[in-house]
C-alpha cells in the first residue's frame, strides 16, 4: 500500500464513506499502527469540525419548551400548573393520564426512535393545549364570555384526552402527507389511531390563504371522500389539529387538505395542498 493509498483510506474512514470490508481493513491498520491511529484521530477531529461549516440557523423558539417539557415528563420532574381550582380536576385527570402514558412511551423511546418522533409531536400538542387551557383560565371572565370560554375549555380538554388516547394506542400509524404544487413545500404528517377513532394533523409551511378562505381536511375511506373539519394556520403558517372520525364513517385510507371558502366546501375542489395515504402497515408500533 502506497502512502497515498493509506491516506485515502484514513481520510475516507474518518468521513464515514468507506464500505464495510475497507473500513474493517482500516480498523485493523490502526490497531497495529499507532501512527495511523494518531492520524485517524486527527482526521476525526477535522471531520467533526466540518459540522461547524453548516449555515447557522436557529430552531423555532417553541422547540426549547417542547424538549424541556418532554424531558420533565420523561424523568418525572414536577410541572408547574397555575390553573384555577374548578378546572383542575378534569385538566389534571387528562394531564396525569398523559404523564402515565408518556412514562410508558419514554421507555419505548429508548428502543424505537420512530415512536420518539410520534410522542414528541403529541407532547407538543399537549403542551400547546395546556397553554391554551391556561390562557383561558387566566382570562378575566365576564358573564357574557363565560359560556364561550367554557365551550373552548371543554374542547381543549377533549382534544387533550384524544391526544392521550392516540399516544396510548400501540397501533397508531403515521403518514407523511406530500405537498402538491399548490402546497409550495408545506410539510405535514398525520397520526391516526383506529382505537381512538381520531388523529392529529401536523403541518408547517402552509401557503398563505386567499381572503375569506380556510383549509379543509378530507378523509377518503375507500368508499367516499368526506370533510372532517376546517382550520386556519397559526401565525407561523402551522397547524396542529385533532381530527375526529364522524359517526358511521370508515377508517380513513387517505387524508387530503384543500383550500375552501370560509365555512368549508361540500367537495374537495381543485386546490389541494397536501395529500397522503395512511399506511396499511405501521412502521414502528
Amino acid at each position: 500500500m502506497t502512502p497515498e493509498e493509506r491516506d485515502e483510506l484514513l481520510t475516507a474512514y474518518a468521513l464515514g464513506t468507506l464500505p464495510g470490508p475497507e473500513a474493517a481493513a482500516v480498523e485493523e491498520l490502526v490497531r497495529r499502527d499507532s501512527t495511523a491511529a494518531r492520524e485517524l484521530a486527527r482526521y476525526h477531529e477535522i471531520v467533526d469540525l466540518v459540522a461547524l461549516s453548516a449555515p447557522l440557523r436557529r430552531a423555532d423558539p417553541s422547540l426549547r419548551a417542547r424538549i424541556l417539557g418532554a424531558a420533565r415528563a420523561g424523568r418525572g420532574e414536577p410541572r408547574v400548573l397555575r390553573w384555577t381550582r374548578w378546572q383542575i380536576a378534569s385538566a389534571v385527570a387528562a394531564a396525569v393520564a398523559f404523564v402515565a402514558v408518556f412514562g410508558w412511551a419514554a421507555n419505548m423511546q429508548r428502543e424505537l426512535t420512530e415512536q420518539a418522533r410520534h410522542n414528541a409531536a403529541l407532547a407538543a400538542i399537549v403542551e400547546a393545549n395546556a397553554k391554551r387551557i391556561e390562557s383561558l383560565t387566566q382570562t378575566g371572565v365576564t358573564q357574557s364570555l363565560q359560556e364561550d370560554l367554557q365551550t373552548q375549555l371543554q374542547t381543549a380538554l377533549a382534544d387533550q384526552e384524544l391526544v392521550t388516547a392516540i399516544s396510548a394506542d400501540r397501533n397508531t400509524k403515521m403518514s407523511v402527507l406530500e405537498a402538491t404544487s399548490a402546497g409550495h413545500g408545506a410539510v405535514a404528517r398525520y397520526l391516526w389511531s383506529g382505537e381512538a377513532a381520531a388523529g392529529v394533523l401536523l403541518a408547517r409551511g402552509l401557503p398563505d390563504l386567499p381572503l375569506d378562505s380556510v383549509y379543509q381536511v378530507w378523509f377518503d375511506d375507500g368508499r367516499r371522500t368526506f370533510s372532517v373539519g376546517t382550520f386556519t394556520p397559526d401565525e407561523r403558517s402551522a397547524v396542529q389539529k385533532v381530527v375526529r372520525l364522524p359517526a358511521g364513517a370508515g377508517a380513513p385510507q387517505r387524508v387530503s387538505v384543500s383550500v375552501a371558502p370560509a365555512g368549508g366546501a361540500s367537495s374537495v375542489g381543485r386546490i389541494v395542498v397536501l395529500s397522503g395515504a395512511i399506511e396499511a402497515n405501521p412502521e414502528a408500533y
Binding site: 466540518v50 459540522a51 440557523r57 426549547r64 414528541a120
Partner: protein, 182 residues
C-alpha cells in the same frame, strides 16, 4: 454534564441554549427539512437527557459527540425518507441555506463563534471540487462510490479529492490553531 447526570433540568436547558443552533443547523443542512431537523434536534437532546452516560468525556469533547450523533441521526433519517420516497430527485436541496443573520447566535459564545468563523473560512479556501466531495460525504452521507456515481467521476478521482481536501483543511485549521472547543 454533572448536572445532567443528576437529572437537573437546568443543565439540559443550559446545554440546549449553548448548542441547539449548531445541532439544528447540522440537521437542517443534512435534511433540508425544518420539521425533520427539529425532530432530530429533539431526539439528540432527549437522548442526552435520558442517557447522559452515553457521552463518555474520556473519548472526546461534548461538541464532537453532539455533532457526530446529530449527523448520524440526520443521515439515517435522510436515508429513511429517500427509501420511502424512492426518488433521487427528492434528495436534492429545495432551497439554499444561509446563515440566519450576520451576528450568528450570541448563545454560542465567543470561542465557538470563532471556531465557526475559522472552519467556514477554511472550507471556503478549498477548491470547489474538493469542497463538494467533502460536503457530499459529510452532510450527504454518501459513500465514495455513490459520490463518484452522482458526479459522474472515476472513483479514483473522488478518493484523491477527498484526500487532498482533508489535507488542505487540516493544514489550514492547524495554521489557525483550531481544535474543538468543549
Amino acid at each position: 454534564m454533572v448536572g445532567l447526570l443528576g437529572g437537573q433540568i437546568e443543565a439540559l436547558s443550559a446545554l440546549y441554549d449553548r448548542y441547539s443552533s449548531l445541532v439544528f443547523s447540522v440537521s437542517l443542512r443534512v435534511l433540508y427539512d425544518w420539521q425533520l431537523a427539529e425532530d432530530v434536534t429533539q431526539e439528540v437532546f432527549l437522548r442526552l437527557w435520558q442517557r447522559p452516560e452515553s457521552y463518555d468525556p474520556t473519548r472526546g469533547r461534548l461538541l464532537s459527540w453532539l455533532m457526530s450523533v446529530t449527523r448520524n441521526r440526520a443521515i439515517d433519517e435522510r436515508r429513511r425518507m429517500a427509501r420511502r420516497q424512492r426518488s433521487e430527485e427528492d434528495e436534492e436541496p429545495m432551497f439554499e441555506l444561509r446563515d440566519q443573520d450576520a451576528t450568528g447566535d450570541p448563545a454560542l459564545g465567543a470561542a465557538l463563534a470563532e471556531s465557526r468563523r475559522v472552519v467556514r473560512a477554511a472550507m471556503a479556501l478549498l477548491p470547489a471540487a474538493q469542497r463538494e466531495v467533502l460536503e457530499l460525504a459529510y452532510f450527504g452521507g454518501f459513500t465514495q462510490t455513490e459520490i463518484a456515481e452522482r458526479l459522474q467521476l472515476p472513483l479514483g478521482t473522488v478518493k484523491t479529492r477527498v484526500r487532498l481536501g482533508m489535507h488542505k483543511l487540516r493544514d489550514t485549521l492547524e495554521e489557525e490553531g483550531q481544535g474543538l472547543t468543549p
